[in-house]
């Protein structure tokens, strides 16, 4: 089994990490770039296939050289085996279409053709959710989205998945598809390991890849557009039909309520609070 997970680096939007300027614009320089959180669900799903069915997991991203550390994070935290970065100037400023074209070509360029490709459900910044499905379109594979659990029948060459019908857990259906197949993992995806041997395997693989993540560059392949034989006109900015006309920060919601602050150091100071509240008291 060879599985590939697609990932993107995004600003770390967590409290204490992210930084905005006065106008509410993201300060990219001051905000660390991390692996898109949803892609970790995808990687966990891929790792589950490795633990249960063997094989190996690759992680692929299109982006600037700085994404190397994002890929390392994927190796250290979610145990990817090898890493692919598609990167050069020509690929820069791609929209989802050009990104999908490039990544699909990257996938086709692999020596060991994948049985399964996983994408996350939306990124934390672009949030379109287009890149995965468009990549699949380029590959012309069957696709299962909103996947929450996964079983593989290697002998039959099929994958059976549970997926959310309307994107929420109120309705779940089970679908089956032949491999190779494209999977978009839902954030609700939970790997399950009901066999002791799977858990023991998980432990071994985790320890092993965490050790390897120290020297992740030994497992990293970087491809530029020439390696992929891609025409610059069809990738990057030139290959992107999307025109971003402008970006406006969403204004802060006006606060509707007025607040009175009462410093209650002693019991006397509490009297005004009582006075304030009395009109709202019910009954006697």
């Amino acid at each position: 089994m060879h599985t590939v997970v697609m990932t993107k680096g995004v600003p770390d939007f967590r409290e204490g990490q992210v930084s905005f300027d006065e106008d509410g614009h993201l300060e990219r320089g001051k905000t660390p770039t991390v692996m898109n959180p949803n892609d970790k669900h995808a990687l966990r799903a891929a790792f589950q296939t490795k633990v249960r069915n063997g094989g190996h997991v690759s992680l692929m991203s299109m982006g600037p050289p700085g994404y190397k550390e994002v890929l390392q994070e994927g190796m250290r935290d979610v145990y990817a085996d090898d890493l692919y970065l598609l990167s050069d100037r020509e690929m820069g400023a791609a929209d989802t279409w050009a990104t999908a074209m490039t990544v699909a070509t990257g996938l086709q360029n692999l020596d060991d053709q994948p049985d399964l490709v996983f994408a996350g459900f939306k990124t934390a910044d672009g949030e379109t959710g287009h890149t995965g499905p468009q990549t699949c379109w380029c590959l012309d594979w069957p696709m299962i989205t909103h996947v929450v659990s996964l079983d593989i029948d290697e002998d039959a060459g099929t994958v059976r998945a549970k997926r959310l019908v309307d994107g929420d857990i109120s309705e779940i259906e089970t679908v089956e598809a032949p491999m190779p197949c494209f999977i978009v993992a839902d954030p609700e995806f939970e790997p399950t390991y009901r066999k002791a041997s799977h858990r023991l395997n998980h432990k071994d693989l985790r320890d092993e890849t965490q050790e390897r993540a120290e020297e992740y560059e030994d497992y990293l392949t970087v491809w530029d557009h020439e390696d992929l034989n891609l025409d610059p006109d069809y990738i990057g900015l030139d290959g992107s039909p999307t025109i971003v006309s402008g970006v406006d920060p969403i204004p802060k919601a006006p606060s509707e309520r007025e607040a009175t602050i009462i410093e209650a150091d002693d019991s006397e100071a509490l009297v005004p609070i009582l006075d304030e509240l009395t009109p709202y008291a019910v009954g006697d």
């Binding site: 390991y193 009901r194 066999k195 041997s197 858990r199 023991l200 432990k203």
Partner: protein, 553 residues
């Protein structure tokens, strides 16, 4: 995907000292061994005093099985051993070094989180080589049976697993021993309840206050009238940079006296005698509690059934040798003997003989004699008959008894140091309360130090613990006060008139009549097992990785 039931040659449930010894010995014999532990980490559920002994007469010791054990997993060795008899502020101390050193190769203080997680790492490495390994956060819920016969285990997190050997090393509240019908949760007098505080202290301060070298340590034991007549005693052991201070009482006595375990611990912590060691400041790292079986009554003479063997606390193999508590060492011996028995049986092509062989080894190696000493059977149990008990208490407390105590001061100290004498001690007030009190009154000197320690209250103690709360794991079957009210006081994290604990008593008025009930909230439960015995409950452990997590243990 295959749906076949997974099979291992051996499954070991629990990775305390008993499980670790069993697994290491199985692995050494090339047996494919899976170890299942419910804690987030081995040791995260475990509490002991604890001094781990290596007995000279034992066929297996922990450092024999794990050569770096003392280096890596223990605190300080015990080089000084004293018992203090207390009456009010009068104290008479006896050196019980002889009892301590009898049959002892070495004895070290341990903290279970550190000790067990180190052991678990070793166990995982060794068992992995045989095709098995150790998994944490797996709660084994019961025995897997085929045509009525035990063939493996069921768990909450994994599909059922079959094995030729199932080692129940799942401790004092063994669900497997109960499932097999080998042990029960009926009689409070078969159990002790241990409660403990780990107190922060700089290594240098320990060396000064206990007058020990940096690599030495002290063990102090306490008995007398400071525990309101509840039968049991206290202990204080020095760790590298902390103290373990605790109490161990007979559970029936805690129940009868409606004693509050945390208050008994506080009685020890605040006694003037402790001032010399605690100084003014007191920083409690952790409060913990657990039941302790009394092997004299609870050790199963034939701890096996089908493919199942019980080792350690699960089999009641916990010896109270007078004031000295020996559970971990026996768990180690039993675990290794059970493994050896399986290896022997397998070599004879009849693994089903493992249980019988294990039982034989327990007897032949003298383990059973230590756990259920003949002297206790003859004298101790006689002393527990109530007319005899009343009489001896009266005599000890009478002018004649007191004269005897004065005259026999030297003899008494020797008696306390005699392993044979202390093994005969009956479970009555006489040895735990009356005698130490009389000794202190007649021979003791008052302690004049002032103890200014104020231990944290129960709410703070509970608040300092770490929990990942799962579904309630204890169900009250009968919530009437008559059936389950004892738990309100006996539960170490509950108390009368305290709303933040597990058990609360409630008076419910309905249509003019009044009912006295008990309610249960398992959120702050430390999984000690007490209410499985003193209340009417359906008692299970929480799911793997859920519930309380001890950082010290």
């Amino acid at each position: 995907m295959t749906d076949a039931v997974e099979e291992y040659e051996a499954v070991v449930v629990g990775c305390g000292p008993g499980g670790a010894a069993a697994a290491a010995t199985l692995a050494r014999n090339g047996v494919e061994t899976l170890v299942l532990e419910r804690g987030v980490d081995a040791g995260s559920k475990n509490v002991s005093g604890g001094l781990i002994y290596a007995e000279e007469s034992a066929p297996y010791t922990i450092d024999g099985l794990f050569p770096d054990f003392r280096e890596e997993a223990t605190e300080r060795p015990v080089t000084e051993n004293v018992i203090h008899n207390i009456a009010g502020d009068k104290v008479k101390s006896f050196d019980i070094g002889d009892l301590h050193h009898h049959d002892t190769a070495w004895a070290d203080a341990v903290l279970r989180r550190k000790m067990d997680s180190w052991l678990a790492q070793q166990v995982h490495e060794r068992t992995r080589e045989t095709g098995g390994g150790l998994l944490t956060e797996v709660h084994v819920t019961g025995l897997l049976r085929e045509r009525g016969e035990i063939v493996g285990v069921t768990t909450e997190e994994l599909d059922p697993i079959k094995a030729d050997l199932v080692v129940a090393a799942d401790g004092v509240n063994s669900e497997l021993a109960r499932d097999a019908g080998l042990m029960d949760w009926e009689d409070p007098d078969e159990w002790f309840q241990g409660v403990k505080a780990v107190v922060d202290m700089e290594p240098g301060v320990i060396n000064d206050r206990f007058d020990v070298a940096p690599d030495d340590g002290a063990a102090h034991l306490f008995s007398g009238d400071l525990f309101d007549g509840v039968r049991g005693g206290g202990f204080l052991y020095t760790n590298e940079d902390s103290l373990s201070i605790g109490t161990v009482f007979h559970l029936d006595s805690i129940a009868e006296e409606h004693a509050e375990p945390h208050e008994l611990l506080d009685s020890l912590l605040t006694h003037p005698l402790m001032a010399q060691w605690l100084g003014g400041e007191y920083d409690e790292r952790e409060y913990s509690a657990k039941l302790v079986p009394d092997s004299k009554k609870a050790a199963h003479p034939s701890p096996h059934k089908d493919r199942l063997v019980l080792v350690g606390d699960a089999a009641g193999q916990m010896q109270a040798q007078g004031p000295i508590i020996k559970g971990m060492n026996h768990a180690v011996t039993a675990g290794a003997l059970a493994a050896e028995a399986f290896a022997d049986a397998r070599a004879r092509n009849d693994p089903s003989q493992a249980g019988e062989l294990y039982e034989k080894k327990l007897h032949d190696e003298g383990v059973m004699d230590k756990l259920r000493p003949t002297g206790y059977k003859v004298f101790g149990q006689l002393g527990e008959l109530s007319p005899v008990d009343d009489l001896s208490n009266a005599v000890a407390d009478s002018a004649v008894g007191r004269f005897g105590v004065r005259a026999a001061a030297g003899l008494l100290e020797r008696a306390y140091s005699s392993p044979r004498m202390v093994s005969m001690i009956p479970d009555t007030k006489l040895p735990y309360v009356t005698l130490p009190t009389v000794i202190a009154e007649e021979l003791g000197e008052p302690v004049t130090d002032e103890n200014t320690v104020s231990p944290p209250d129960l709410a703070d103690r509970i608040g300092d613990l770490t929990y990942d709360v799962g579904d309630p794991h204890i169900e009250l079957v009968d919530n009437s006060f008559e059936a389950s009210g004892t738990a309100v006081t006996a539960c170490p994290v509950s108390a009368q008139d305290f709303g933040g604990g597990c058990y609360r008593d409630e008076t419910v008025k309905t249509n003019g009549s009044e009912e006295h009930l008990v309610s249960l909230d398992t959120q702050p439960c430390v999984e000690c097992g007490t209410c499985a015995i003193v209340a009417d409950t359906e008692w299970e452990h929480p799911a793997g990785g859920k519930g309380v997590e001890f950082k010290q243990g």
